[in-house]
């Protein structure tokens, strides 16, 4: 059996006497370049790989020697779909190093607001354009739009509201330029923010309709119990911008303790590091984890939408992540509106941050899960060392376990259908392969 990399692209399977291989060499509707490979011997699943072949981009090395103030803008370039997450984890880590805390008032509100914009952009793209076609049986959003134009229009309308929020608070829709260590370069006026009320109110209505719609989709009846890891906000908020890293298996650590509990290792088939909890192994971050650990912190409107959609306090079916993501769309629209309503332009758009020789840690909730940054900086603010652990490398093992389970549950499906089911299982976790391939440890085996 030849290696997947030698094969032409496209979903296909190969049927031998005993050996059966299901693979897709170029995954569609995920961010970045990856492939999957599943090998069966009779009815035994002998090998499962989520291959990430997008080339590594060495961001951590690139950061060394740069000024601590540059980290948010440099790391934002890791990903076009979640740049705010990178900026927010970076500023939190740098402020942690410099002993500055921005945990209340309009500056924190603005940070959560722009983060809500990113959740709206990213989740609406995923729910409507990337994930929904799986459930409705289409190859992609374009094919789905021909029959279900109104659904795609809803997604575009919601994404537009997220784009508008991002452009106003961040300076532009993609790779915002207004975020800095200590706050923002410019704080918007209340009048400017109020221009977002109409589109956000419409987006919130659409999000509520989305929850109702996705709740009725046809889900495979599966449950996957594994450790769920997310931030827990120390106040009353749904986890986005701060908090301890907690899990349903008892993990409860400050971001500074991340390295003590999470190990990353290189595996041959992937250009992304695999993360695991040192004591226990595979874990999952992202909407399912946030919801399970903090659904009590959802705003009442989002909580009610979740309840009406039939979600219990924990959702263990990864195929239903589309429902949880839609609930988070309600949450993000509703919270954005609440922030705009109480907003008063701060006296200064940022607080002074003076560098000192120290190590800082920052963890925030990217749309697809926990994003951890660690920086060591010098007295003059030069970055001595950087470490970034994106959600997709944390989720890789869980995704591979899902693939294995999906195949074991659906062995009798013909190859093409099994392949599609596997791809759907990957898309359940909205992996961002571009984010996952910035790592530094490159092993070259020349025999």
């Amino acid at each position: 059996m030849s290696d997947a990399s030698e094969m032409p692209t496209g979903p296909h399977g190969e049927q031998g006497l005993r050996t059966r291989v299901i693979r897709t060499d170029y995954l569609a509707r995920v961010e970045g370049e990856g492939a999957m490979y599943v090998k069966l011997d009779g009815r035994d699943v002998v090998e499962v790989k989520l291959r990430i072949y997008e080339p590594p981009r060495f961001f951590e090395a690139l950061l060394r020697g740069r000024a601590f103030t540059e980290a948010p803008d440099i790391t934002a370039r890791i990903c076009g779909i979640c740049p705010v997450a990178y900026q927010m984890s970076a500023v939190r880590a740098m402020e942690d190093a410099c002993d500055v805390v921005i945990d209340e008032g309009p500056l924190r509100d603005l940070r959560r607001l722009i983060y809500c914009g990113e959740w709206i952009e990213s989740h609406s793209l995923h729910v409507y354009m990337l994930h929904a076609p799986d459930f409705l049986g289409y190859a992609g959003a374009v094919e789905m739009a021909r029959d279900h134009g109104e659904i795609v229009e809803q997604g575009l309308q919601m994404k537009k509201a997220g784009n508008a929020l991002m452009a106003l608070v961040g300076g532009r829709e993609v790779h915002p330029i207004n975020v800095r260590v200590g706050g923002f370069y410019r704080a918007p006026t209340g009048a400017e923010l109020r221009t977002l009320v109409d589109p956000l109110e419409r987006a919130r209505e659409t999000a509520l309709a989305t929850v109702r719609w996705v709740a009725e989709l046809d889900f495979p009846d599966v449950r996957r119990a594994r450790e769920l890891v997310a931030l827990r906000d120390p106040g009353e908020d749904y986890p986005i911008d701060r908090g301890a890293i907690v899990s349903d298996a008892g993990l409860d650590i400050a971001p500074a303790q991340f390295d003590e509990h999470v190990v990353e290792e290189h595996v041959e088939h992937s250009n992304a590091l695999h993360a695991r909890i040192r004591e226990r192994g595979t874990y999952l971050t992202g909407p399912l984890a946030r919801y399970a650990l903090s659904c009590a912190q959802l705003r009442p409107l989002a909580a009610e939408a979740a309840r009406a959609a039939g979600l219990g306090p924990v959702c263990e079916n990864p195929f239903q992540s589309i429902v949880v993501r839609s609930v988070e769309l309600v949450q993000a629209c509703d919270e954005a509106l609440a922030i705009i309503e109480r907003y008063e332009q701060p006296d200064a758009p940022a607080v002074q941050v003076t560098p000192r020789r120290a190590v800082g840690h920052g963890a925030t909730e990217a749309p697809r899960g926990l994003l951890y940054h660690r920086y060591e900086i010098d007295d003059d603010g030069a970055i001595l060392d950087a470490r970034i652990v994106p959600p997709t490398s944390q989720n890789q093992l869980a995704i591979e376990e899902d693939l294995r389970a999906v195949v074991e549950d659906a062995l009798d499906l013909p190859d093409e259908k099994l392949s599609l089911r596997c791809e759907q299982a990957i898309r359940n976790h909205d992996p961002c392969i571009s984010c996952a391939t910035h790592f530094l440890k490159l092993t070259v085996d020349r025999g």
């Binding site: 961010e31 970045g32 779909i81 354009m129 959003a141 739009a145 021909r146 784009n163």
Partner: protein, 150 residues
């Protein structure tokens, strides 16, 4: 008139550069000239209400660097490759056009120009080949835009 590209990826800036030049040559009352650097699903809103669209982008196919391609996308999809999204990241120009067509939001006339790029790595400045093609491309595009808007 829409130029698409990334100003920080060498030849990917070609579409932006062309529309900057064409802006000086067309009637601003009749032609909206837009440099679009964001993601492509936004194109559906950008061309909302337009009678006709001319879009310019850098592409990469087997042609020699600086080659100018012209495709009428009014009736049929852009051939992919090379017009499809260059990665699996969301939506490319070809997908945005097809999404608009499926939703009934495609202007009646859509002409897409592509200039064959050679450098798409990080950095500023067009390659010599693409830079040399800018004059002809600007003349061709501005002529077509002016005749459409006449």
């Amino acid at each position: 008139m829409i130029g698409v590209g990334n100003a920080l990826r060498h030849d990917d800036a070609a579409g932006l550069e062309v529309v900057r030049r064409v802006r000086e040559l067309v009637d601003p009352e009749r032609v909206a000239v837009i440099e679009h650097v964001g993601e492509q699903s936004a194109l559906l809103d950008i061309w909302e209400g337009a009678a006709a669209v001319v879009l310019v982008d850098a592409i990469r196919s087997d042609a020699s660097a600086g080659t100018i391609h012209r495709v009428d996308a009014s009736e049929r999809p852009l051939p992919a490759p090379p017009w499809g999204s260059s990665s699996t990241h969301a939506i490319g120009v070809a997908e945005a056009i097809e999404l608009a067509r499926a939703l009934g939001r495609l202007p009646a006339q859509v002409i897409v120009y592509g200039v064959e790029g050679v450098r798409f790595d990080a950095g500023i400045g067009l390659s010599k080949e693409v830079g040399d093609a800018m004059g002809v491309l600007t003349d061709t595009v501005s002529h077509e835009v002016r005749s459409m808007a006449a």
